[in-house]
């Protein structure tokens, strides 16, 4: 089995442990789009845990940067203006659809929520179509 697949299983299991600890400690799901949304629209007493979680994510990135920077390699396939459009769609769509890859894809799917299974299937499908469109219009760099 290729090394990346094994690392995928190992990294995925760590993510599984992280979201399990969140549930055990705070009774919450880890949905990063929702967490960001809560920071944008702060409710007193409901913001500091969100900032702590986001700081943990940033600190994890910094730790990787110093130990194994290749895991943070940024090699993209689209031009900057496509990247901007991408961000806007991701932000808009994740709020509209009530979750992203973490909230629906990891937590909801593990909880066997039909809603999250459908969301995950839909965004994986439309993601495949959009990559295919980039390719077929020659915008894939």
């Amino acid at each position: 089995m290729p090394k990346e697949w094994l690392l995928g299983i190992a990294g995925g299991s760590l993510i599984g442990i992280a979201v399990s600890l969140m549930l055990l400690w705070n009774g919450r799901v880890v949905g990063i789009s929702g967490v960001m949304n809560g920071v944008l629209n702060p409710i007193p007493g409901d913001t500091s845990w969100r900032l702590s979680l986001l700081s943990g994510l940033i600190m994890g990135g910094i730790l990787m940067k110093f130990t194994a920077p290749s895991f943070l390699e940024v090699k993209f396939h689209s031009e900057t203006h496509i990247g901007i459009l991408a961000g806007v769609l991701v932000g808009f769509g994740s709020l509209m659809g009530g979750g992203c890859t973490s909230g629906h894809g990891v937590c909801g799917v593990s909880r066997l929520s039909l809603r999250s299974w459908i969301a995950t299937a839909v965004f994986s499908g439309s993601g495949m179509v959009s990559v295919w469109l980039l390719r077929s219009t020659g915008m894939f760099v």
Binding site: W5, L6, I82, A86, V90, F92, G97, L114, S126, R135
Partner: protein, 144 residues
């Protein structure tokens, strides 16, 4: 304070897992979504790893009366399968494919000191604000 330390640790562990799996790299995401190219199934193994752990732990943990640090559970209750779920997820997926970034890796990738994840992050915040404005103007009820 305990809650903040707990959330920080969860974020730290999540970020390390995300990086190890390769999913902080847009090239790996695109490798998975690019079915007409050189398809890379690593994302499936990552999702499988997370699922095999959390599908089990979820059931065990939910047997408790309450979480350790909170008086009650905060699990999403919506079961609605409606156009908003479908179209929202569809829009999200299109952006995911165009940029190779979902929200979490943009934050984890601040440390790369590269401009792209930051550009996507800022656009993402803009997209969220845009959605907020659109529901305000159309009077849709917010999905908590």
């Amino acid at each position: 304070m305990k809650t903040n330390i707990a959330c920080f640790s969860v974020g730290l562990l999540f970020a390390i897992g995300l990086c190890l799996s390769g999913m902080a790299q847009p090239a790996k995401i695109i490798g998975f979504l690019d079915i007409s190219g050189n398809w890379d199934p690593t994302l499936l193994f990552t999702m499988g790893g997370a699922f095999s752990v959390h599908a089990v732990t979820y059931r065990i943990i939910r047997k408790r009366k309450r979480p350790l640090l909170s008086p009650n559970w905060h699990i999403p209750v919506s079961r609605a399968i409606n156009p908003r779920l479908i179209f929202g997820s569809m829009i999200f997926g299109v952006g995911w494919g165009l940029g190779g970034y979902c929200p979490t890796p943009t934050v984890v990738s601040f440390a790369s000191l590269e401009s792209r994840p930051l550009v996507v992050f800022i656009s993402l915040i803009f997209g969220m604000i845009l959605y907020k404005l659109s529901i305000r103007n159309h009077g849709f009820k917010r999905n908590a």
